[in-house]
Symmetry: C2
Amino acid sequence: GVLRLSRMQENGRRQIIAFGYPGDVVGFPANGEHTTDCKALSDAFLISYRREDLECGTTDPDLHQELLQAALSEISDMQDHFMMLGQKSASEKIASLLCALADRVGEPIGQYVEFSLPMSRCDIADFLGLTTETVSRCLTQLRKCKIIAVSKIHTVVILEPDALAALAEGNG
Amino acid sequence: GVLRLSRMQENGRRQIIAFGYPGDVVGFPANGEHTTDCKALSDAFLISYRREDLECGTTDPDLHQELLQAALSEISDMQDHFMMLGQKSASEKIASLLCALADRVGEPIGQYVEFSLPMSRCDIADFLGLTTETVSRCLTQLRKCKIIAVSKIHTVVILEPDALAALAEGNG
DNA sequence: CGGATTCTTGAGGCTCCTCAACGCCAGTGG
DNA sequence: CCACTGGCGTTGAGGAGCCTCAAGAATCCG
């Protein structure tokens, strides 16, 4: 299923670090400490590994190797996320997220691409560094421009992928 | 010395991913691709490793292990950076950065802590997702509040570490 | 010194946040 | 069946914070 990885501050502020989709490796520890919360947004199937097996490279070199590759891939994804958080406007952030999800889990329906958003608007907001109101406004704006359609409340159809991609890159 | 790791977009927008200080491991590849620029802000001494040695865990398990630990630590640091980019105001971002640098490279001078900022205001801005003007304004505001002092233009003295930490956490 | 670059400061505007109200839906209990 | 409730999403009005644009200091370098 889909996982939500988040981190909280004392003030109650929350940042969603990432959404975990099937095939992702999650739960990287730092100094033996886990600093993130993880919640399943839908029924999920997890495979767990024992830390000793992972940290001691000698027992299973292949597994160790896979873990390293997963960590490197995670770093690269996080760098993309940085661009989004630091440099993009609200509508660009929304467009970027929709594009990324379409590539990741989109399914062709007729001539269009459709996917579900199992996370709430609030989750999206905390992921993108926005508020739920802004997320909602940007989505309705995209609807009005006929770039996307929202069939069910948590299901999005991409009508104009090129326009969406252009928006995501800041060329809208 | 100090390194600056950044990533560019086609539009000319830039995001500083991290500043590399002595002891840091930098240059994690993803899928064999390097997607970040790296520039030395001061004379720097680098140790390079051959990729084959790193990727093939069998030749040197200890080195491989160290690399994994470095990657995990990097992920943790990046998660902190997410909190900053997504959830904090401009002055909170500046305070957070100054706190982090003080912990990392601050040197006690008399009863205060001092350190140098080898990066330009523009670099700081692109690191925090702000503009140079906003960075400058926040710094002068901190000066006027007697929380910091700017002796030379790239040298900061922390006068009130507690106040700075409170600001960084959003309790200012 | 002169020129270039960086930093600072100011005025004004735009984006996004805050606060608030309303609609929709599901669950609950009478 | 309906009223009530709470959670979530949408929409609006207003304002704060940050950006844009611009000009003036400060610093660096030839």
